[in-house]
Symmetry: C2
Amino acid sequence: MVNIPEQDAKSTEGRILEAAKTVFISKGFDGTSMQDIADEADINKSLLHYYFRSKEKLFSAVFNYAFQQFIPHIQGILSAEESIFVKIEQIVGVYMDMLRKNQFIPAFILHEINMNPDRLYSLMQVSGLRPQVFVGQFVQEISKGIIRPIDPRQLIVNLLSLCIFPVAARPLLQRILFENNDIVYEKFLDERKKVVADFIIHSIKA
Amino acid sequence: MVNIPEQDAKSTEGRILEAAKTVFISKGFDGTSMQDIADEADINKSLLHYYFRSKEKLFSAVFNYAFQQFIPHIQGILSAEESIFVKIEQIVGVYMDMLRKNQFIPAFILHEINMNPDRLYSLMQVSGLRPQVFVGQFVQEISKGIIRPIDPRQLIVNLLSLCIFPVAARPLLQRILFENNDIVYEKFLDERKKVVADFIIHSIKA
DNA sequence: GTCTATAAATTGATAGAC
DNA sequence: GTCTATCAATTTATAGAC
């Protein structure tokens, strides 16, 4: 009910969820009508209410699925036995690759989190992301003198900002800085993986 | 018609624009009905169509106004005769102060730019923001060996990311990292002005 | 499970009285 | 300029036949 079942992605319920995800993400909650989703799924509108009672309920189911894609194996990287520099490089690489494959998710989540923070936050809780491990290691390496003393939360926000914003604001940035050239912006994002990692590491080295 | 006239902010047209700005920014274009705006302005719905022909036209007028607030005296800073380090510090300070006063604008713009990139981009053109001057100075200081050779567009995107994202994603970040404590997050944003400037400068120094 | 038909409310927009 | 009344279309959601 909550996750799109892989085995029967062609079942009615699976088709609805896939279609709803596509439409919700591209048009937002308010911009999406149940008819839009029914059309996308090539299915009768009434079936949406048969499987999910309301638009809100359908959205919750879809968001849960989309958000789990959005927070990938980050937790694994955070808890790994690696130097903080390697971790940062890995996180940036994995995160930016994933973001490029799901271009519209960042802006979607940023919008919905502002429209209805509590709804989204409670849906997120399930994901179980815990930054504390990373923060712990970070504090340790500061005390060892390996890195500069910086608030670890500032570092986390820096990292997220540098990875997510360029994708969320892509339609704007691509037009202003890259003459709306898709290929050039893709190359820019590709180079950016190294740039961001270097940028962060360079700034925290003691 | 485009700007909210300061002198007669209590005129019908001014009241409509102020109300529309409030509602559009908090609920988005699709989430806002003309009735919502009329209620907010405490005015008859028909008057919205009398002053602005359609919802689209009203949105354009409002967005133009909101966006001009969003891009403040940045252009002045960019063209000033200052070292690149001073400029970065000034831009970060001015930008983050302004963002905190207009908390909902970043997420609003990010959403609308993804919903309808061309509409928003054409509305933006009027602002006449030109990053080329800054890029020129940047390239010069690289050749002088004052700063590391970095793609100036990467630097601009870094700067925008670090300033805008923490505000746009605030409802999420504040809950995850700061136990949803408003005062603590405000302090975090305040400290962040220095952190971001240091962070950038530290990363570009040769 | 899937469909048609339809309810009940809301949407953007217009006509016309004052 | 401002209002009431109203249109036509669309919205979410339900009832009921098959």
